[in-house]
């Protein structure tokens, strides 16, 4: 992009960014700007819908290239292409009324959700392994604290009699330090978002200048 192109794209980004921000902040107090902001947000929705097509093209091209080059696991890529084509045909037939019921929904619920549920179960083992790995890799005070708190929380969740104090400690941990830490992280992310947003609004972001 030349200097002129960069200047134009920066001006468009700043202009549209400020207009949308003012429209959202002013609301119905400034109807014209609010309408323009709404229109711009609708454009975002339409553009997002178009990117789904880009995604499908990307999926086919990446996996077709893998099959063509006989890369490791190319058989799975072939399976992805065939399955995608089959689902597209199935949905088209369904929309045309050629098939009874909702086979695409049944397929989604029986295949996708079942597989994802199985993977969700695996996450537990990955997390336990992660805690073990953390203690092996860097045994520091924060690590010890992490493991102790984890054990307290797990023990406090056991449905056994006589664990009253542990349950109280677990509830206090969740309500006070965990909640405070979580808010701290979220506040940090919010501050970072504000600063990045301001950089975009004043044209300091690199992505549309180069």
């Amino acid at each position: 992009m030349g200097r002129l192109g960069a200047a134009i794209s920066t001006a468009i980004a700043i202009g549209i960014g400020l207009l949308t921000l003012i429209g959202l902040l002013a609301g119905d107090n400034v109807p014209l700007v609010n309408d323009i902001a709404d229109f711009l947000l609708q454009l975002v929705v339409i553009t997002t819908a178009i990117t789904v097509l880009i995604g499908v093209v990307n999926l086919f091209s990446v996996h077709a290239r893998r099959v063509g080059r006989r890369d490791t696991g190319w058989g799975y890529s072939l399976l992805v292409i065939v399955a995608t084509l089959l689902v597209i045909v199935l949905v088209l037939l369904e929309r045309a009324g050629a098939l009874g019921g909702r086979p695409s929904t049944i397929l989604f619920e029986t295949v996708q959700i079942s597989i994802e549920s199985a993977l969700a179960g695996l996450v537990l083992f990955a997390l336990v392994y992660g805690a073990y790995r953390l203690t092996r890799r860097r045994l520091t005070w924060p690590t010890v604290l992490f493991v102790v708190v984890l054990l307290l929380l797990l023990l406090g969740a056991l449905p056994l009699a006589g664990l009253g104090p542990l349950v109280s400690i677990r509830d206090w941990l969740m309500a006070v330090p965990v909640s405070a830490g979580a808010r701290g992280i979220l506040l940090g992310i919010a501050l970072g978002t504000v600063v990045t947003g301001v950089r975009v609004l004043v044209g300091q972001d690199r992505s549309y200048r180069e």
Partner: protein, 272 residues
């Protein structure tokens, strides 16, 4: 949005804008004015890229479900800046980086990030068009995580930079990377993902550190100024939280409420 929220939002934005512009001018005149604190993840990133180049294997960069046009737009831009810096270093290697996304709006962003990185090295002819991959996410992004675990093995990835929007499914990816002795730098804007990133990555980034990649890995004064702005805003926030709290604590001590509350807490911990 009610009028109080509108006023506070405008004030915060104006404050950030003024601090950012002033800091940029100061830093442009005197580079040594600001000493950035060390962040291990950013220190180790060039080493991870160097290892990948020497091993002739790709670096894997993932946005997760960070997206353009949604609430994580600015996170996606921050991730793109980090990936730009990483890809710029990796561009001299024979194997291009792999960028994975689970939202289609991030595909053009990923492609543009790689293109700019290769162009900055005058290597645009080697720009790898097929290196940005969309792996569709299911209802809980677990399908995306499963696809990434396969990618780590099939493409013989050397190291991973997983900075974007991830949930607990990040554990599957980091665990797969650990089994293959691959390095991982991870961070997420979701609390569950961030917790997993802290426990399971070699070098985690926490909270606002995600947004400072340009300052640590780049050379622009504006990006260093954004870190200064972040620090000033953080201190103002700390004051806004601690000063009213301190006043409230002093009031509670003087009227005896503090001891009453401590007694209540002790009774609650005793299970009574």
């Amino acid at each position: 949005m009610d009028s109080t929220t509108q006023v506070i939002t405008v004030l915060i934005l104006l404050l950030a804008l003024v601090i950012s512009l002033i800091a940029t001018q100061f830093i442009r005149r005197r580079r040594d004015l600001v000493a950035l604190r060390s962040i291990p993840a950013y220190q180790s990133l060039p080493l991870l890229v160097g290892e990948a180049i020497e091993a002739n294997r790709p670096v894997h960069l993932s946005f997760g479900s960070a997206t353009l046009g949604g609430s994580s737009t600015l996170l996606a831009l921050a991730s793109a800046e980090l990936f730009y810096q990483t890809a710029q270093r990796a561009a001299i290697g024979a194997v291009p980086p792999i960028v994975t996304v689970s939202d289609t709006t991030a595909i053009p962003l990923g492609q543009d990030t790689l293109r700019r990185a290769y162009r900055s090295r005058d290597l645009l002819e080697r720009y790898p068009r097929g290196s940005v991959r969309w792996y569709p996410a299911g209802p809980r992004s677990l399908a995306f995580a499963a696809a990434l675990t396969a990618t780590l093995g099939d493409d013989r990835v050397a190291n991973n930079v997983l900075v974007g929007s991830f949930g607990p499914e990040l554990a599957l990816v980091t665990e797969a990377a650990a089994r293959r002795n691959q390095g991982v730098i991870a961070a997420s804007d979701q609390l569950e993902g961030q917790a997993v990133a802290y426990a399971m990555s070699d070098q985690p980034l926490i909270g606002e550190e995600i947004f400072t990649a340009g300052a640590y890995l780049g050379e622009s004064a504006a990006q260093t100024a954004s870190v200064v702005t972040l620090d000033v805003l953080r201190w103002l926030l700390i004051l806004a939280i601690t000063v009213p709290t301190a006043i409230e604590v002093v009031n509670a001590i003087t009227d005896g409420r503090l001891w009453q509350n401590i007694g209540n807490l002790a009774r609650a911990l005793g299970g009574q």
